[in-house]
Structures are given as structure tokens and as C-alpha cells.
Symmetry: C2
């Protein structure tokens, strides 16, 4: 009951936020349908959260939302930094700025002096040299790492220096970091190649008759 489950809890929360405007209560099978899981899994995921529903009304939406947010976020600031304002970085900045109500990307960093001091999606780009100072100031401990593969390990080390504890890593290589840092890897190329592999299989299994 860790890793996987936590991810789904954030999905439940997102669905509940939309649901909040429409209804006050929700059953596990309804929320499960909305989020693409089984009712049993949803109930199990909720166990450690400690919020209890009632058998004939289900879960109270606002109450469950509050418990989920307390469980997932805890107290403290939820500022995020983007490191690497390239093609992908800019898109992620725009994406997250519009889509994460409880997290805010408050600073971006790059080594390209042409990008420094520009504003992207309402977020100032700083030189990477200022990482430590700015992140200490803004209490940033979570970073989106979107730099070229060859620089990722080096930049990640600087993030540790700047007291980061969580990294969302888009560089396709295994970062070597101390265990008190949480790293979530997103390997887009791997995902696409995986889809291609299974798609090919599906095609083959679908057309077994072909000039045998």
C-alpha cells in the first residue's frame, strides 16, 4: 500500500473536485467508474487515509476531499521549480500552471542566458546558478527535471544541494541519488515504444490469415 496507491489517490481527489459542484455524496462504484479502477481497489486505497463512508450514503464528497488533501499534501508550501526551459520544459510549465490547483510552479531555471529573465507562462526564468538561493527563499523542495540527458545527473546533484527532496525526472537515464530523495521517472520514449510494441501484437493477432 504505497507507490501505486498514492498515485491513484491523487486521481480520486481530482475527480472529487469536479464532482463537488454536482453532488454531496458518492459511492465507491461511482468514483471508481470515473477514475478507471475497481470499487474494491478504491476502498482499499482509502483505508490508510482513514476516512470512513457510510453504507447507505457512500462518501461525503467534501469530507473525503479534505481527508485526501491532508493525507496527500500535509502542511507546508507546495511550490515547485522547473529545471530546463527547453521545448519540453516550456510545455510542461504551461501544462502544470493550468492544471494543478494545489501545486504552483513558482520558478524556472536554465543555463541559457538568452532564456534567463524571460517570463514563461507567468513564471520567471532564472540562471541555474541561483537555484540554491531562490529555492531556499521560496521553500521549494519539488523539481521538474527537463534538461538534456547529458546534463541530468549533474543538475540533479545540484538540486540535492539546494535541498530538493522530490524530482519528477524526464531524462531517460537512471539518476543516482541518495535514498532520501524521491524520484519519479517519466520516460516518454519508452511509453511510446511500448504502445508501438503492443499495437503491433494486436494487429498480428487480429490478422492471422495472411498469405500463409
Amino acid at each position: 500500500m504505497r507507490e501505486r496507491s498514492i498515485g491513484r489517490l491523487t486521481v480520486y481527489r481530482r475527480a472529487l473536485l469536479e464532482l463537488e459542484e454536482q453532488q454531496t455524496h458518492v459511492f465507491s462504484h461511482q468514483l471508481a467508474k470515473l477514475t478507471g479502477v475497481t470499487p474494491a481497489q478504491l476502498r482499499r486505497d482509502l483505508m490508510p487515509v482513514g476516512y470512513e463512508g457510510s453504507p447507505n450514503r457512500g462518501y461525503e464528497v467534501t469530507g473525503l476531499l479534505a481527508s485526501l488533501s491532508a493525507y496527500l499534501d500535509g502542511p507546508g508550501s507546495h511550490n515547485v521549480a522547473l529545471i530546463g526551459v527547453g521545448n519540453l520544459g516550456r510545455a510542461l510549465l504551461t501544462y502544470f500552471t493550468a492544471r494543478t490547483p494545489n501545486l504552483t510552479v513558482v520558478a524556472a531555471f536554465d543555463t541559457d542566458v538568452d532564456k534567463v529573465d524571460r517570463i514563461v507562462s507567468g513564471c520567471r526564468v532564472h540562471h541555474l546558478d541561483r537555484l540554491e538561493a531562490i529555492c531556499a527563499e521560496a521553500e521549494i523542495h519539488v523539481g521538474i527535471l527537463a534538461v538534456p540527458k547529458d546534463h541530468a545527473q549533474e543538475v540533479a546533484r545540484r538540486m540535492i544541494q539546494a535541498d530538493f527532496t522530490g524530482i519528477l525526472n524526464f531524462a531517460p537515464l537512471p539518476l543516482e541519488l541518495p535514498p532520501h530523495i524521491y524520484v519519479e521517472n517519466v520516460d516518454l520514449t519508452m511509453s511510446l515504444e511500448k504502445v508501438n510494441c503492443f499495437a503491433q501484437q494486436k494487429i498480428r493477432s487480429r490478422q492471422p490469415i495472411k498469405e500463409a
Copy 2:
């Protein structure tokens, strides 16, 4: 031995491509180090591929590469389509165009007439209405779905009509599709919130002394 393993196999292949220029043979522990897995897992992943290494030379790089590619891609074309040329879609197009040697994004689609007929990263944008015709012509069966959440289900259905068998889905909702379609979901918001959650935990566990 499915899902997970296939993803890692694509990672091994990528590492081997870089290795090819430097050495002719590689041991499981070396390749494992490069890709962030244990040697045992790597060897197990390779089992269904059917390529055998030798105890005192390890794996022959080019031979393993050939077997991996045969296993992962099979024959047939490997053309990919992008559906949704928004902020994220454009970035993905650029990203994949530069990074996937064996897959090619050959067509993009959008409903915005201002985007239609433009060229993005060397790829022509077509109106979504032409999806079926163009994808049949170019033998495209894999799609990157990067449209707004509210349109994703509807667009996905059109993709099925156009004979897609694999979808890399960036819309944060569970697509309802027939079982002969493979869907890989990438939920960026979930990933970032997950990082935030664990990062908070790390901070708390690190500083248990605080004005008690």
C-alpha cells in the same frame, strides 16, 4: 512477464544503441547499471526474447540489438500520428521527432482550422476529419492522444474507427475502448502530485525535531 518487462526491453535497446559504437560485447551487470535495473531482472527480461549470451563474453551488442528489435517491433511500418496539436502536442512532436529513431510521427491532426496545413517539426497538420483517410494511406496504427480532456473519449473513438490499435493517452481520464486496443496512460499531473506527496514525507521524516 509482460507490461513492465516490455517497457524495460525498449530501454535496454536504447542503451545498446549508444553502446554499439564503443564495444562489441556487454555483460548483464554493465547493461543493468546503465539502465537502472538489477542484473537478475535484465537477464529475466531477456528470456522471452530468446537471445543467449555467453558466460565469459556476455552478450554480443549487435546480435542482441537485432533480436530485441525483432521482438519489440516485428515487421511492418512504424508510423505514428499525433492527435491534438496544442501546447503539449507540439512539444511531444518535437520531442519524438528527435528521439525515436525507429518510430516516425508522420502526421498530426487537429480541429482548429488555424493549425491545419501548418508544418510543425517537419510534420504536416491535417484536419481531424481526414484522420481515417490519411492513416489508412500511411498505415498508421499508433497514435499520441493529446487533446483536451473533454474531447479525448470522442476522439479516441474516431481513432478506433480509423483502425488504430495503440494509443498513448495524455488525457487524464480512463478511456473506454474495446479490448483489442492497447492504451498507455500518461498522467503528468498525477506524477507531479505523487512526487510532491513523497517529497513532503521525506521532509517530515528528516526533521522530526521541530518546536515539540
